[in-house]
Symmetry: C2
Subunit: 331 residues, 2 copies
């Protein structure tokens, strides 16, 4: 028996690796010190007084939609932008990124599209895609072709590290518009739209500009360019991902401090209304599963609000911190 | 419909997260600046003159064996040790680690065992487990329960960064013993042992001290404690993982420099002989799939060899670099 009998072709993998090597080199910054293909990647260290900020995420079952539509160049942007937003909540800017792709079999065209998407999103924020792992595991997945995971490291001056412990009752919650579902809630969205309602990915539905599949694949918005010049005005940032408004705001709240979000302050996009109607999903469930059109919530003292809302398109006050221990309430 | 109807329970996930939070805190070093549970984790930066070294890896289908045996506390050590070895090849010591666990459903006992294993392995090398992601994706996997991926960042003084470009013909290859298959070749091993030979995980086989399943689960050896005091004597290190001797040594070789590995210089352990016999696997295939009992190869100038082999148990000369363009030859 040979390894290829077990479904793993090292030769094919080597071919893809070299193509991927060329793509990732296009993201390299002068601080990348090693060529692709070693056991690890070296990156010129940050200065004293800088803090590293790291985060890890996957794309989740949005990958299933990518497979249904047959389009694999957008999920890379989802992953990179999700990760950039995560470390942005601590005030950090991206330095480098690593990806992990696991698949039952190696499809060179899909792999190249995925890594091309990762690289494009990395380049647009000056982040070097310095490494990664492609794991071919025969028989590993059912119902989809691959998993995609990313790790990001960024940095911020220690005195600018954003710690939510400065939040106090009276601070204002400012919502920034999302571009769609971003990267969360796809298990529920797929069940409602494809299983219960029986829609197909090519379906044209009222209120949606694109066919349903493409609408669901809209890439996760990157908030770095919108937010970075306001970081000194902001006390905390909640990235509205898995767990929706409840979990993602709750993890920032100091003791005795709760948050009221007023949903009348914005109108969720058509895709969210469609899911809620088609699935008969209760409001509470919607706001703890989806971003409902608000992908990032900034918290700032009242005196800082105008400067932020006047300069970020679509930014608006969506709630307020109050004294209390109820946590997060969406009213 | 609710999110839990789609197979995702956020409440259960929150319970596990808090238990995992307590476990990961046990790995925290004074340089960890944030509590678990934020969107990212902050780590005190490295000094000027230090270089960051990052790597990413998965456990692969060794996880399937863990599922067959019903033991989930060893795969964490596999992942951490594999990662520590990868960055060790550039001379780096670990700073922090993040993990990604994807599962079709959340099994709190399995999850706690996995993270407990990660944390133990991290503590033993002074590495902080600062973050991670648990993704519940219903219907995601067939034939196994979860995937486990890790991401490590370490550092090394810039002048001590190991770059293999100093290798020259005449340099000596020194092999360090592995503890078993480590984390590679499990697709082939499982096919040969369980499908073709029909063995069970409880099987007691000649030459193996433990039942077959436990033998296959032996944790990946961590070479940091053995090697770190010799890093100044070493020109390059090859971690013998996926691709075996061929791919992992080839990626280090400068142009005009090739490597001859003499397999008569050590005897592969019983597990490798068992796989080769049961699967009728050609020699070439064995040495490019498995580590064959040598998990790390150090390359050093001849004058440094005795100092290394005299102080690392089991270390022995296994080959040599020669002028040539054939790459790697196992003779």
């Amino acid at each position: 028996m040979r390894y290829s009998d077990a479904g793993v072709s090292i030769d094919l993998a080597d071919g893809v690796k070299s193509r991927i090597g060329r793509i990732v080199r296009s993201t390299f910054t002068p601080r990348v010190l090693t060529a692709p293909g070693l056991f690890g990647a070296a990156f010129a260290g940050v200065g004293r007084g800088e803090v590293l900020v790291a985060s890890c995420d996957g794309v989740g079952t949005k990958l299933t939609v990518a497979g249904m539509v047959g389009r694999h160049d957008t999920v890379g942007a989802d992953l990179v932008n999700h990760s950039v937003n995560d470390i942005l909540t601590l005030g950090a800017r991206p330095l480098f990124f690593l990806d992990y792709i696991a698949a039952s079999r190696l499809d060179p065209a899909v792999m190249t599209a995925v890594v091309g998407g990762l690289a494009r999103a990395c380049r647009s924020v000056g982040c070097a895609l310095i490494g990664g792992e492609t794991a071919i595991m025969p028989g590993w997945f059912s119902g989809l072709d691959y998993d995609l995971v990313g790790f990001i490291v960024g940095s911020v001056a220690k005195r600018r590290l954003i710690r939510p412990d400065r939040l106090v009752p009276g601070d204002v919650a400012i919502g920034l518009p999302s571009s769609g579902l971003h990267t969360n809630g796809y298990s529920l969205a797929r069940k409602v739209l494809f299983e219960r309602a029986g829609y197909g990915v090519e379906e044209r539905l009222p209120g949606l500009r694109l066919p349903l599949g493409r609408e669901l694949l809209r890439p996760h918005r990157c908030y770095l360019p919108l937010v970075h010049q306001h970081l000194h005005r902001v006390k905390a940032l909640a990235h509205i991902t898995g767990g929706g408004f409840y979990d993602n705001i709750a993890r920032l709240l100091p003791a005795e401090c709760s948050c009221i979000i007023r949903r009348s302050s914005w109108r969720p996009g058509a895709i969210f209304r469609l899911i809620q109607q088609a699935g008969d999903v209760p409001d509470f469930e919607m706001y703890r599963t989806f971003n409902m059109g608000i992908g990032m919530v900034l918290f700032a003292a009242p005196g800082q609000v105008d400067a932020i809302t006047n300069s970020i398109p679509g930014a608006r006050v969506v709630g307020r911190l109050v004294r209390g221990t109820f946590g997060v309430s969406v009213v």
